[in-house]
Symmetry: C2
Subunit: 293 residues, 2 copies
């Protein structure tokens, strides 16, 4: 029998179609639903009826959900980790190039004032957190003739482990932060790490604002100790008007995964996961309540 | 015997070393030189003594040299076409991503104001002039899941010919102008071409300012008829203060090939061409006086 699946907080058409294409049956209310595809925030979703066995979330980062996930161990939660990886990696590359090539600075000028710029070619780029997004970014950097240092928690494959991370800050030219936000990764980049970077180093953050100590970053930028910072995520977020990072860094307002392409990518993920659910197969991106991602 | 080669207007060390590494003998004056490596402008170089048989120029575009080249048919001129291709292609990609991803706009803002942005993934990108730079750009776009339409003069290989160019403007999403500046390519993009583009289309120019009609472009941008323009080259160049394109477009001041990496790349080309000269082999990038590049 087709599983009864609720799509909310609104019956977004691409998601409804994805559920149906994968063999699910849409139910209009949470009551009686066996699974929920939730394209809204945590506080928009009420208490789950006991019928619900699985919730598909819309985002890759699931901090606001973690308490609920830990408190409802009988419900499986899947995140959207990996679903938007190529979009976000594309934005990370855009920020890295905009930074090194001086585009962020030139965009603010109204006078012809050429300066010597850094080229990415020949540099060493550290990918801190080589999960889905990081791996996509490594793929996009392949034709660019750069050295890659990839760091993962466990150091699997060709990557360095978090234990080796302290050696990375002084050795790479540029840094792209792609790691998940957990209590372990809070302020992963602070004053001590910034101190070791090179005067031309750019740091890009497309993960979560909490991974970089914003005060230490502002200090380093104000003193010209690093080349620059390009941030799609900030702490606090939204970045309030008048915050020093508006002047000191290149800020994009969490748009690495723009709405128009997000729904398209989420629909692909929903279709695949509903298909797996129907088949009794392993779901993509199950949330680990302990690790918090 | 080692050919006597003059490096000017100054004896730049990387170029001198490149000449010597390839088997040339450096001479301090133009008199008696058989070949000249000229890393300066046309008006810095006086009349050539009759001993000079070959001049290696430092840039890919050779408009200021064309009259001299036509008037001295006994001297071979080689340009730097291809020597900086990967640097310039990297800048072209940086501009394309900065444009489509809204980075040029966000760089000017001081307030959190997310908007829906275009992702490059899934779009069709036209490379108008798929020579050395265009081919490098195509290589860099490979991991991005975009359709490429490449246009060359003759339509060789997988490319469309200039005769088919009129079909391209309405069919691609974005355009990167990489064609050489000749009388044929002046205002290659004018009002009629801009008219056919899509409302979200970005146009990038890293070739020469003359390829785009600046007034027609300013009109299209002012009316919001295209997504935007990112220009590393302008007409006139330098773009004067107060020119409307400072507000309407993303301008970088001819920095696709920054000085620090330019000399390194030119030295590689000089070494290769001196080696070929010594061996009596065909030189890279001979200038065709008729075609003007």
């Amino acid at each position: 029998m087709a599983p009864a699946i609720h799509v909310g907080p609104e019956p977004f058409e691409p998601l409804v179609k994805a559920v149906e294409a994968a063999g699910g049956e849409i139910v209009e209310s949470l009551e009686g639903a066996e699974a929920v595809v939730w394209a809204g925030t945590e506080d928009q979703l009420g208490a789950l009826p006991a019928s619900v066995k699985w919730v598909q979330l819309q985002s890759a980062g699931i901090e606001p959900w973690i308490e609920r996930i830990r408190n409802t161990p009988d419900v499986r939660f899947t995140s959207a980790v990996g679903a938007y990886a190529s979009q976000v990696a594309e934005h990370a590359l855009a920020l890295l190039l905009a930074g090194t090539r001086g585009i962020a600075r030139y965009a603010r000028e109204h006078s012809w004032n050429p300066q010597d710029e850094i080229v990415l070619e020949g540099s060493t780029v550290a990918i801190v957190g080589a999960g889905g997004i990081g791996r996509e970014l490594i793929r996009m950097l392949e034709p660019h003739d750069v050295e890659i240092i990839a760091v993962t928690r466990s150091g699997r494959g060709d990557t360095l482990s978090v234990e080796q991370l302290p050696t990375v800050w002084g050795n790479a030219d540029h840094f792209v932060i792609c790691a998940p936000a957990t209590t372990d990764t809070e302020h992963l980049v602070g004053a001590a790490e910034l101190e070791q970077m090179k005067p031309h180093s750019w740091i890009v953050n497309i993960a979560r604002g909490s991974l970089i100590d914003p005060d230490a970053l502002a200090d380093a930028l104000r003193d010209g100790r690093i080349g620059g910072a390009a941030l799609d995520v900030t702490d606090p977020e939204p970045l309030p008007d008048g915050h020093p990072l508006w002047e000191l860094a290149l800020i994009t307002p969490h748009v690495a995964n723009p709405p128009s392409s997000m729904l398209r990518d989420l629909a692909k993920r929903v279709q695949e996961n509903v298909r797996r659910y129907v088949d009794g197969a392993e779901l993509l991106a199950p949330v680990d309540p302990e690790q918090g991602y």
